[in-house]
Subunit: 410 residues, 2 copies
């Protein structure tokens, strides 16, 4: 059998296995592959706990928003070359969507010379976001008011190298190698028309390291992301897609705010546990509010301690980040970052949180929360926003289409 | 129950669970923890596939050498501050060994203010290596001849920022977050006496992404590390610990050579599959030699093709890296690296291989192989060594001791 034939049948097989989930390679596919000599069933197949798991790429909405966060994320900001036209963007989105459609299903895209690195999609998702320039080219009249840099906050120390961008690729998977390969494939097809503005890599616990379904911990050791609308709920539909709340800029579209928040672990180290808990308003042990006994219990902001002071302080992060105003909610999908630096004697390095927030309307949901935190939040003592970018996240596409095609056709 | 008491009991419990492996929390421990309200058994505990797996820290040999490679590695080169004495090194090794002994068993070390990040050791290992300066301070008369920079090879383009170092910490685990936390804890205790010279982070497939036990793939898509002595075999004992071969510098000690090998994916992209396979001498599909049909089959270097040329070319990597000379073997433990760069329009970025090689005698085992590859190896077309460091790896220690203590006492 030819090398090419070998590859094609392997791809088909993996596609079949992937679509149906782990261990679901059909008997028919297996038998034909055996005859072709292209596939040997793995005796350890039960250990492929997520290697062949796939998340659908096609659909009315893009994957990677309501998708349970994978262990690894690479957020990539691309800038279009000067002189890019609407047609440039159409061709770029067409080829990148083709790549993503293949890679996410465990198939090597056209021109992939390392197809073996595409074998383990491990829940790979590729999510596209449009910066102001791309959306202006694609559908200028649809451009939402909030698609611009966020208002300046007093705590911000933003750096250009982590901010802005014309096109966002959010690449997530349970395997770091899968992310690396997917990114490389997408870059190969993006390089003739774009430049890499920034790459921000993040991580959470790997599959099998902690119980599934729990909130992650950040590098301060805090339980992070407790209050988050659950996909499939009315709350999620309202917050992320504007159903019954702030309307989204386009049906099945949403918005991404990506903030790079540096954490000063050196000064954080000087703070003891009670003071740390006081600054957040939650117990470090399990993330329970200081007035409660479990993570998802509602905090009692009115509760007072023996001396008459509030149990959850006025400056505590959870008090400041909440209001009774329903629109002011967001859907978080945060990742830790830890970028090694050399030659810095004893310094803690460049660590922090990639705070990715999805919501239907940035101005009405994200901004008021951030304004309150900017005014007062004890956590600001140890955190500094150093990057900021806002993207319009277009709807998904059907098979044969490309992400954003509905806007071109509109 | 006090916060402190809560923490202590949790640590004890985790320690017990960790030592006995996954899911082995004892009924007694569980019951007492329940009573204390400090621990709720996780309904998804079966999904903690590796989170509580531990690798023993104490023993005649250090862990992390014969240990099956974990998904993530951080190699850290530290430099002692000027004026460091033998006693400085003793104190440093004592405290770092204490930290490593705790962290590897899922316990928070002394002074850990984020003990929750120590809960998932995920097969964490911390391996210590001594550069020339540390070994001279500790046991000058034991210093092996090979503990110096490697001879200069013509292919080398070494950079100081990836080379040398007084003390190596090799930190490996199946969870990236575990590595990050362990590194931070070790740094806190090393910062008063050392500076970070370099940090080199690498990755392989995560647990559950591929079948266990397979060789890894590097970013060229090649199956990497096929020829490697298996721990527990006579070959491994000879190659790594000098039993019946080149003697090790000290009993149960070995040597680590760490080479940072940059891969030029851009020019590699210009090469088609047959040429790629020709350059290595192996099939890309499954790593089988071009004369065989499975990865671990012996290559037939004498085989000729229809035109009378050797099937495995004279310049092929697998031909050049082998001799019939038994001492010239090494034990590899390589990791991929992919460091994001910004502002580089379309470039492939800084990607390559952290080639970690363990052997009893660097000069008699590693150097001759590298000399042959330096003279001729088609893979040199696309690879460039940019970093190089050699460390003497001391024996392990018993409980209450520290890594290297046998050398102090000698």
């Amino acid at each position: 059998m030819s090398e090419l034939g070998d590859r094609v049948s392997r791809r088909r097989l993996l596609a079949a296995g992937g679509a149906a989930g782990v261990g679901a390679v059909s008997a028919v596919g297996l038998e034909s592959a055996r005859r072709a000599g292209a596939f040997r069933p793995d005796p350890d197949a039960d250990r492929w706990a997520h290697g062949r798991d796939t998340v659908a790429f096609h659909g009315p909405r893009q994957a990677g928003v309501g998708t349970t966060p994978q262990a690894f994320a690479s957020f990539v900001g691309l800038d279009l070359h000067a002189g890019a036209t609407r047609d440039t963007v159409r061709r770029l989105l067409t080829v990148l969507s083709d790549d993503a459609a293949a890679l996410t299903q465990g198939r090597a895209p056209l021109g992939d010379q390392e197809p073996w690195l595409a074998q383990n999609p491990s829940r790979l998702t590729v999510t596209f976001g449009f910066g102001p320039r791309v959306l202006a080219l694609v559908a200028g009249d649809l451009r939402p008011d909030w698609l611009r840099p966020l208002p300046r906050f007093s705590v911000d120390r933003l750096e250009d190298r982590w901010s802005g961008g014309d096109l966002l690729l959010q690449i997530c998977a349970e395997d770091r190698l899968t992310v690396s390969h997917a990114q490389r494939m997408l870059f190969k097809d993006a390089r003739s028309t774009t430049a890499v503005r920034w790459i921000q890599e993040g991580f959470r616990h790997t599959v099998g390291s902690t119980a599934s379904g729990g909130s992650m911990r950040n590098l301060f050791g805090q339980v992070d992301g407790t209050v988050n609308p659950a996909p499939g709920t009315e709350e999620f539909e309202r917050v992320v897609y504007g159903r019954g709340g702030c309307p989204a800029w386009v049906e099945d579209g949403t918005a991404l705010v990506l903030r790079r928040i540096a954490m000063d672990l050196d000064t954080w180290d000087e703070v003891d546990t009670p003071a740390r808990e006081d600054s957040v308003g939650r117990r470090l042990t399990d993330g329970a509010p200081l007035t409660g006994s479990s993570e998802h219990e509602e905090p009692d902001f009115a509760a007072k301690g023996p001396l008459g002071f509030p149990v959850i302080a006025g400056y505590a992060h959870i008090r400041r980040s909440r209001t009774g105003n329903p629109p002011e909610q967001i859907h978080r999908r945060a990742y830790n970052y830890d970028v090694p630096g050399a030659g810095v004697p004893g310094a803690a390095g460049d660590v922090g949180l990639l705070f990715a927030s999805y919501q239907a309307d940035v101005d009405r949901q994200f901004v008021p929360i951030q304004q309150r935190l900017d005014e007062l939040d004890m956590l600001n003592t140890w955190t500094t926003p150093v990057g900021s970018a806002v993207f319009a996240v277009p709807p998904g596409c059907t098979e044969g289409g490309f992400v954003g095609d509905v806007l071109f056709d509109a």
